[in-house]
């Protein structure tokens, strides 16, 4: 059930990306000089950004702010059921952005979670932007931690900080950045607050040669920890360049059918191949 992204090579930026430069209607643009919203048609793009998050965290608002689209935003969980795609250009480089359905986890309990998991694992986006609700951090972090176990190419948008402020909640962004090992940017997407920093973080993660390694969550249960470590070693022996062996081992221990299928048909092996997209852009 993998949902592979279209080969980025097809839409690869040429020597002259985004000839138009800025955008015409930049009254609200967070970084007018550098951001061009490309709406539905990403045109030529160099990087793929996957947009993940719990339901009702303002994912669609962030998506609209980046692409200039006006996908209807509702204040309720489960509004976005299918995935939506759009594009923007930042600093003259094209980005294609995929809005995933809002999920609480990647444990594949429903069709939504399967779609999100497959895009993140098999699509190998250049950046995974996780939108979290600053007023409900504890409930949002499990998804962030699961995504961090898969990849280090993550930016966390700590959204709804305006609401958090109203409720007297302060989140220590620097501490959170240290804990998660990836950029965390405070945003209030409804007002465009924090978007310039968010774009800069996305660019930085997309272009880095050296992303942080996937997170290693140590299991406090010694029995489980031993099994994970043993299986991860086997996975690593089989797929030496696979970055997230521990996460794959965990999924196999749980008997996740999607991952088992990927082992059987060798899709998992393809994931171990060097990242074509990043390599080409740097070259």
């Amino acid at each position: 059930m993998a949902t592979p992204l279209p080969t980025p090579g097809v839409g690869r930026a040429s020597a002259d990306p985004d000839p138009g430069g800025g955008c015409a209607s930049c009254a609200l643009a967070p970084d007018a000089a550098r951001l061009a919203r490309l709406g539905l048609d990403p045109g030529r793009y160099s990087y793929v950004v996957a947009l993940a998050g719990n339901p009702n965290t303002g994912k669609s608002t962030v998506f609209n702010a980046l692409t200039g689209l006006r996908q209807h935003v509702g204040n309720w969980a489960g509004k976005t059921v299918a995935r939506a795609e759009g594009g923007f250009s930042y600093g003259g480089v094209g980005y294609r952005i995929i809005d995933l359905p809002g999920t609480y986890s990647l444990l594949s309990a429903s069709a939504d979670e399967d779609i999100a998991r497959d895009v993140l694992l098999f699509g190998r986006p250049d950046v995974t932007l996780v939108v979290v609700d600053a007023t409900r951090l504890e409930r949002n972090l499990p998804l962030v931690l699961q995504i961090r176990q898969i990849t280090g190419r993550v930016v966390v948008a700590l959204n709804l900080v305006d609401e958090a402020r109203r409720h007297g909640i302060t989140v220590d962004v620097r501490h959170l950045t240290r804990e998660l090992g990836v950029p965390v940017v405070a945003t209030a997407a409804r007002r465009g607050e924090g978007l310039p920093d968010l774009l800069a973080a996305i660019e930085q993660v997309a272009t880095t040669d050296d992303p942080p390694p996937p997170m290693r969550l140590v299991h406090h249960d010694p029995e489980l920890e031993r099994a994970v470590a043993a299986l991860a070693e086997q996975v690593a022996a089989r797929f030496p360049t696979l970055p997230n062996t521990r996460w794959v081992a965990l999924r196999l221990l749980e008997g996740d059918p999607g991952i088992e299928a990927a082992v059987r048909d060798g899709t998992l092996g393809d994931l171990a191949a060097p990242r074509v997209a990043a390599a080409e852009v740097q070259g």
Binding site: N75, L137, V171
Partner: protein, 467 residues
């Protein structure tokens, strides 16, 4: 590669059965630790009480339903009262004057009568009609509904209705897909993807049509205003009209629950799944942006669809009204043929023919009915396929009563049939796309129609017996 899977299976056997739970548990332990170290909740409790107090009322067992009734009643009343004046203006401009000018222009240019008839009396008139009747109520209703949605009220409605859905053997999330259906049934059917179990999802798909969609609100509002509201003194007319629309909506929820219950006891038996419904915080709606997006995204989208459907329908109506077979027009033959069934259902042949013409879009039911009534009614001075001298809503009523022989019973049954009939063709296609099953698509299409026929015929029969 299978040896890796074998190894995983071997290790799994060595672990307790609840390994999945333990993995999730350690994930949540880490999340809680990080959150505790990063979040400072200074004064959080004090501010959140406003939300809590609001929720105590809006999700109360009794007051929750009262608040729901008051809020929706307010929205409909506002829509009905506010749309009257702009509707009249558009009517005068587009239908009365615009049509006359266009007709004179065509005649002056020496266009053949057939071309003038087809384009001006058919296509233009139907399109102008749809805009005049639909634009004002939609431009008021959608922004109001979107404001409620942005405020965070809809999940509370879902929460209130959840208990009822659980008792009907359906999934609680069905209350959310039902809410989506009030905008568009095709969207509501797509939204059922949030329901994991196939059994419960099918129930949600089949019953979504009992949510009154965009295309059907104008019919209900018009019937409520012209016929039901007219029964009482003018001072109360608006309130009673809004009440009539609410009654149909409530009936729709009742039918949704009843059909869900019946399905889950018969062909779609099974366990109910548990789920958690998150109540989002109340957010002050951003009024200007909401007005802008709901007018652009919803009002104009729906209107465009209506216009796109109305133009060809106008041509069809003009053709069936003007192509003669023997001594009468095609429309007359069809209406005569449908007449007995229509009478049985307390409607008439014209209404049923309109539902045949309007399968692509419910939006054009009323224009189709009025044009057909005028074509066939032979009222004083009415040319075939042409509507003249219809100044406002009241005059539409006059035409329907005078030329169509409508009574209060016709209007009430039309309101019922608006709720209970086959989904539009877009929704039927969406149902097929989502279920990939001809059988369930047929059930979802024909079940509401059958219910509509039975209910309308029963109401008509009972009222006729009572005189």
């Amino acid at each position: 590669m299978t040896d890796l899977l074998d190894e995983a299976a071997r290790l799994r056997r060595g672990l307790p059965d609840d390994v999945g739970d333990r993995i999730v548990e350690s994930l949540y332990t880490d999340a809680a630790r990080i959150a505790a170290a990063s979040v400072d909740r200074d004064g959080a409790a004090a501010r959140l009480t406003v939300d809590r107090a609001l929720d105590r009322v809006l999700t109360h067992r009794v007051w929750g339903f009262v608040a729901m009734g008051v809020l929706f009643f307010g929205v409909f009343w506002f829509t009905i009262a506010g749309a009257a004046v702009p509707s009249d203006l558009l009517y005068t401009l587009l239908v009365e004057n615009g049509h006359a000018w266009l007709r004179e222009g065509f005649v002056a240019l020496g266009a053949p009568a057939v071309v003038t008839g087809l384009l001006v009396d058919g296509v233009y008139l139907a399109t102008a009609w749809v805009i005049a009747v639909m634009l004002p109520p939609m431009a008021i209703f959608f922004p109001l509904f979107t404001l409620l949605e942005d405020f965070g009220y809809l999940p509370r409605v879902a929460f209130n209705l959840d208990r009822l859905f659980a008792r009907a053997g359906a999934h609680g999330k069905q209350s959310l897909t039902m809410m989506m259906g009030y905008g568009c049934n095709a969207a509501g059917v797509t939204a059922t993807r949030i329901i994991d179990s196939r059994r419960e999802r099918l129930i949600a798909v089949i019953t979504n049509n009992f949510s009154i969609c965009n295309g059907r609100w104008p019919t209900l509002i018009l019937m409520g205003t012209v016929f039901v509201g007219a029964v009482v003194p003018p001072a109360l007319a608006g309130v009673v009209a809004a009440g009539a629309v609410i009654a149909v909506v409530v009936l729709g929820i009742g039918v949704t629950l009843a059909v869900s219950w019946a399905l889950s006891r018969t062909v779609l038996r099974g366990e109910s799944s548990a789920y958690s419904l998150e109540l989002p915080p109340y957010r002050p709606p951003r009024i200007l942006r909401t007005l802008w997006t709901s007018i652009i995204d919803r009002t104009f989208k729906v209107l465009r669809r209506a216009v796109v459907m109305a133009a060809p329908a106008g041509a069809v109506i003009w053709l069936v009204g003007n192509v003669h077979l023997g001594d009468a027009s095609l429309a007359a033959h069809l209406v005569t043929a449908l007449g007995p069934i229509g009478w049985l259902m307390g409607l008439n042949g014209v209404i049923l023919l309109a539902y045949l013409v309007a399968v692509p879009a419910n939006e054009i039911i009323i224009p189709t009915i009025v044009m057909l009534t005028l074509t066939l009614g032979g009222g004083a001075g009415a040319q075939p396929g042409v509507m003249l001298d219809l100044g406002d809503d009241a005059q539409i009523g006059t035409v329907l009563v005078g030329a169509g022989g409508w009574t209060l019973l016709t209007a009430v049954n039309l309101m019922l049939f608006t709720l209970l009939h086959h989904p539009c063709s877009t929704t039927v296609l969406t149902i097929w796309h989502e279920t990939r099953s001809v059988r369930w698509t047929a059930v979802a299409t024909l079940l509401p129609l059958a219910l509509g026929i039975v209910v309308c015929a029963t109401v008509a029969g009972v009222l006729r017996l009572l005189g």
